[in-house]
Amino acid sequence: MTFGDSHDWVRARLATWASGLLKPDSTERVDQHLAECESCRQLAGAMTSSDPKGDDRGEHIPAFGLARWDRWSRDLTGLSRSLVLEHLQRCEQCRSQLVTLGYRAELPLLEGAESTHSPDAATRAAPPRSVPIRSARKYAWPAWGALAAAAGVAIVAYIVLHHPSSTSVPVAVTPSAVDTTPPRVNPPPAGTSDEALLALGPESSDAVSLASLVRSGEPDTTITRLQFGPAGHVAFQVPIEVATLAGNPNIDVMLVGKGGVILRRLSARRSELAPRDQRRDLLLRAGQHPLVPGDYAVVFVAKGAPQPNRFEYRVRIETAGRHE
């Protein structure tokens, strides 16, 4: 074996070596080579260097796979596919991350992709046919949920990185306020959107679409169901009707409960809600006044804007928000 062969032989086995799966004699051979070869040692060091993944190594579905689930999951075959499926059924964390990214937490059923050597064929149920809710590329990407969680406010408009280079900063927020002023019920503006939102990022499992306006004369129309997830709050994207308002009016965003009680209120300029025509996500936190299951309205009122200046969306909360 030449020197070059030795390098190639070792480099081809670094992943297996780093996982401890090489035969003992092969492991010894790699170890010996690494002790003598600086360049290969650098490669091995880079491969096994301490990175932020830390102790999670191998514990969850690889992050690069989850991030590209619509494509990556379809390439899975055989035993690795079975193992990913099994992990997904068991691991709430991986499921919630997929949902956060806007995917269904399922593996699409692909003919011929299932392993004939599954770890335990008798216990495996066929996965449901599924498709991603949407392509992750198509929608905005919000900033880190941890920052949003740290904000500690009732309604938070937080960064949406529709473009990774966005330098947006969170919209100023106001704490939860209880107001007993009943909201007016104006006729809705013409035109609706059937866009299936929603927020991306850590709160998107709690996200709700404000895609459809409540129609006049159909006050009981439920357009969206909200589920408070583990984070205890809901996110929704600034509706396009609001984002495209002319000028830069001040806009009140209100969550309205029974009897017209305003449970949450946020005031912001249109340019803050939709900077450079990129709609931000609004984060509705459970806050000090936990929301109980029931029907609510999310109302946007633009002050000083030409008509239409009021947009109302009806939502239903099906599970209670958590106290924070």
Binding site: R11, A12, R13, L14, A15, T16, A18, S19, G20, L21, L22, K23, P24, S26, S39, L43, A46, M47, T48, D51, P52, K53, G54, D55, D56, R57, G58, E59, I61, P62, A63, F64, G65, L66, A67, L76, T77, G78, L79, S80, L83, E86, H87, Q93, Q97, T100, L101, S115, H117, P119, A136, R137, W141, W144, G145, A146, L161, P164, S165, P202
Partner: protein, 168 residues
């Protein structure tokens, strides 16, 4: 990431940002961040470099619009032909296989292995002799290698070259 990319891999940046968020979420579930900004920066850098490694590109050669030494990403794996995601996948499959079979004795050692500890270190941590750990791991290794050998050529095919040797 955008500053590191310098206009390169524009179509991949969203995927990479999502990947970085997953890593951040996992880290924050595991431990509290003392300096969130620093953690995010570190994760962004690692994730970006990992992604470039996977892309298998030499960033300098591909970066025609960039004439800037600062654009270089100093990482020995970039351009080496080695895909570090192979390591992540084989580790996941190994642990998951042991989990499925409730092989707790194997999971225990595998986790230490993946954390970069050798037999002696694992033995000290588990209160066992080095040889006992080596024997235990050898039994575990054979189990998972047998399973990989019987598999279809799926994503594990990335390790085919390695596995050929493993299985020889």
């Amino acid at each position: 990431m955008t500053s590191m990319a310098r206009g390169r891999w524009a179509s991949d940046l969203e995927d990479i940002a999502m990947e970085a968020w997953i890593v951040l979420d996992r880290v924050l579930r595991r431990e509290q961040a003392r300096n969130l900004d620093a953690l995010m920066t570190r994760i962004a850098r690692f994730t970006f470099i990992d992604a470039v490694r996977r892309l298998g590109h030499d960033p300098i050669e591909r970066s025609q619009p960039i004439d800037d030494e600062d654009a270089a990403i100093g990482d020995p794996l970039i351009g080496s032909g080695i895909d570090p995601s192979a390591l992540e996948m084989v580790r996941f499959c190994t642990l998951e296989y042991f989990t499925h079979h409730r092989a707790s004795e194997c999971i225990e050692v595998a986790r230490h292995w993946f954390a970069g500890r050798n037999h002696a270190e694992i033995g000290r941590l588990l209160g066992e002799k080095r040889d006992a750990i080596a024997k235990r791991w050898e039994r575990c290794r054979r189990r998972v290698v047998e399973a990989f050998r019987a598999d279809l050529p799926g994503p594990l095919r990335q390790f085919a070259t390695e596995l050929e040797e493993v299985l020889a």
